[in-house]
């Protein structure tokens, strides 16, 4: 796995300047905001005099110049200190670490659903281009791709929670149920069904369409003609020659979609009242908690970098051509 290690090292080095731009940009954005953390804090207290405001600013270092505050922020980030949340009155890192698993489960399950079901249906559509099944899947996926996730969430709640009463409407688990072990895991899974569907269906449509389009291109290639000439069965051609080659671009798409999916989880977690990382963004905005909002943006960027790195490693593993030419030239 020497190749994967080299790839990792190169990607991590390349992401340092990008992350620096994200941090600087986030800092500048927050500088534009009217008022500062002390104003927000005083509002949450119900007001205070200017002496108290000045004292607080001095103790937090908010009376210093923007440049020295940026330096202060960056050096505390380097110590993995994300600051102090005004809304929660706790260290932000603790809140983020507490919330992150819920969101990672949600995104992981949504990705798994979208990728497997999307590519399978895409194979079905692409196996017989122009067939009735292909047309139905094409129109269906286009419509699904146009459905806003938060609205789909409400419709699913209406059908499966309100009408059929099969699934819970909100939350990540039954509160104070006292469940442990497998019973608790099943309870969480039941709570995640609707959010995962709401978040994942739009990507399901995307993967379906990409798979279908990719297979359309592969069908025209010479090696498929050769496989047909050899007299291979259609099923074998579809599975071993066409679908297999159309699958690789979908893996790349996984990385590209990581950022938009994280953005989507902000709204989905709000609809289903899931205490996750995405909802933290909305809570930060609602509570005018600038340090928390900055931390959410920066942690999101780090998450997207990590996901993309994992996707790159997976891609290199699936496609031996990646990175090996470089090794030969060196």
């Amino acid at each position: 796995m020497h190749r994967a290690w080299r790839l990792t090292k190169r990607r991590l080095v390349a992401s340092i300047p990008v992350l620096a731009i994200v941090i600087l940009g986030t800092f500048l954005l927050m500088e534009l905001a009217p008022g500062d953390a002390v104003d927000a804090y005083l509002v949450s207290l119900g007001g205070g005099d200017s002496r108290l405001a000045d004292d607080l600013r001095q103790s937090y270092g908010l009376d210093q110049s923007a440049l020295s505050r940026l330096w202060l922020y960056v050096s505390s980030l380097a110590r993995l200190d994300l600051g102090w949340s005004i809304v929660f009155n706790r260290p932000i890192l603790d809140i983020v670490l507490e919330r992150l698993p819920n969101t990672l489960w949600l995104m992981g399950a949504a990705t798994a659903l979208a990728f497997t079901l999307g590519s399978l249906l895409g194979i079905l559509a692409g196996a017989w281009p122009g067939s009735a099944l292909d047309r139905v899947l094409s129109i269906g996926s286009l419509t699904l791709y146009a459905v806003p996730g938060f609205w789909l969430g409400l419709v699913l709640i209406l059908v499966f929670s309100v009408q059929l009463r099969w699934l819970p409407t909100s939350g990540i688990e039954t509160i104070a149920s006292g469940k442990v072990g497998i019973a608790r895991a099943l309870d969480i899974a039941r709570h995640l069904v609707l959010p995962v569907a709401s978040l994942g269906f739009i990507y399901l449509a995307l993967f379906l369409r990409m798979m279908r389009a990719g297979m359309g291109e592969v069908w025209r290639q010479d090696f498929v003609l050769a496989a047909k000439a050899k007299g291979l069965s259609r099923r074998r051609i579809v599975v071993h020659h066409v679908a297999r080659n159309a699958l690789l671009p979908l893996v790349t798409m996984l990385g590209l979609q990581a950022a938009t999916m994280l953005g989507g989880s902000v709204v989905i977690e709000s609809v289903f009242a899931i205490p996750g990382f995405g909802r933290l963004a909305q809570e930060a905005v609602a509570g005018r908690d600038a340090p928390l909002l900055m931390a959410v943006i920066i942690v999101s960027a780090v998450l997207v970098i990590i996901v993309n790195l994992l996707v790159d490693i997976a891609y290199a593993w699936l496609d031996p051509r990646v990175g090996s030419s470089e090794a030969a030239s060196r």
Binding site: I21, Y145, P148, G149, W151, V285
Partner: protein
């Protein structure tokens, strides 16, 4: 121009999308003249279901406001924000991509790192943060959504420019002593534009959905009726009056489907033309 239209008409998807989009635009533009009602006025008994009263075809909401009138006004906000943010994204993206690809070297390196930075921050999160900082207004929302969407056009424009700048007519322009900026914007940019324009429908559709999500979370333009805001208002009455959230959602889906289909038909018509040339 005529063959382009004929080719577009020959694709059933494109025509369906054009009709859908056209009817929505017509409703958004003409609706206020036909309905003549105020979307914020309390005109009827609250929570009338759809199709129950001829004067309120789609019913009334919890305050007794006409749902149809609000739906029409909501389409204005959605379509305006969608198209305006796409214009911002395409203009900014194409300019940045052209400069990066044409200048090369450190300028290219620096600009592309900025593109990377914008790409690893979720666009919706960026829009959310920007709107919360600058305050929700139509212009801020358009800018916020555009800010998260310009990276695609920038990458595509740069890739195009990299191949175009090696062509003979660019070399010829250099030989006759044209200023590099003039070459970049008069010779290279117009030729790099067509592939970038194929992204328009996807960007408009995404912008419509982001605007809806922002206003669903209460960060929409407070002075206009929005579909996302209507869905949020109806959310608390999901059990007793589900039509209040379902109807604006159907409006969103049909608008986005219309935009996709229209865009696909257009791209198809354009690419056939490209192949023949």
């Amino acid at each position: 121009m005529k063959p382009l239209i004929r080719r577009f008409v020959s694709s059933p998807e494109g025509v369906a999308g054009a009709l859908l989009l056209l009817s929505l635009v017509l409703a958004a533009v003409l609706g206020p003249f036909i309905l003549s009602g105020d979307p914020a006025a309390l005109v009827g008994r609250p929570l009338l279901p759809p199709f129950a009263d001829a004067s309120f075809p789609l019913g009334t909401d919890q305050l007794g406001r006409d749902v149809l009138t609000r739906l029409v006004y909501g389409s204005q906000a959605s379509l305006t924000v969608g198209f305006a943010s796409a214009v911002v994204a395409i203009v900014v993206g194409t300019l940045v991509g052209t400069v990066a690809g044409f200048a090369g070297g450190l300028v290219d390196e620096g600009l592309m790192r900025i593109v990377d930075a914008f790409q690893i921050v979720p666009g919706f999160l960026l829009a959310l943060a920007f709107v919360s900082v600058a305050g929700p207004s139509l212009a801020v929302i358009v800018l916020a959504i555009g800010l998260g969407a310009w990276t695609g056009p920038a990458r595509l424009a740069r890739a195009e420019v990299l191949s175009i700048r090696e062509r003979d007519y660019v070399a010829a322009a250099r030989v006759i002593g044209m200023h590099p900026a003039e070459i970049a914007f008069r010779e290279v940019l117009p030729n790099a534009l067509p592939p970038v324009l194929s992204l328009v429908s996807v960007i408009v559709a995404a912008a419509v959905l982001i605007e809806a999500a922002l206003s669903f979370l209460g960060l929409g333009d407070p002075n206009s009726v929005t579909w996302g805001g209507m869905i949020a208002d109806g959310r608390n009455l999901l059990r007793s009056a589900p039509f209040l959230s379902i109807i604006p959602g159907l409006g969103l889906v049909s608008a986005v489907v219309g935009i996709y289909l229209f865009g696909e038909g257009l791209v198809e018509a354009l690419s056939i033309r490209g192949r023949r040339l």
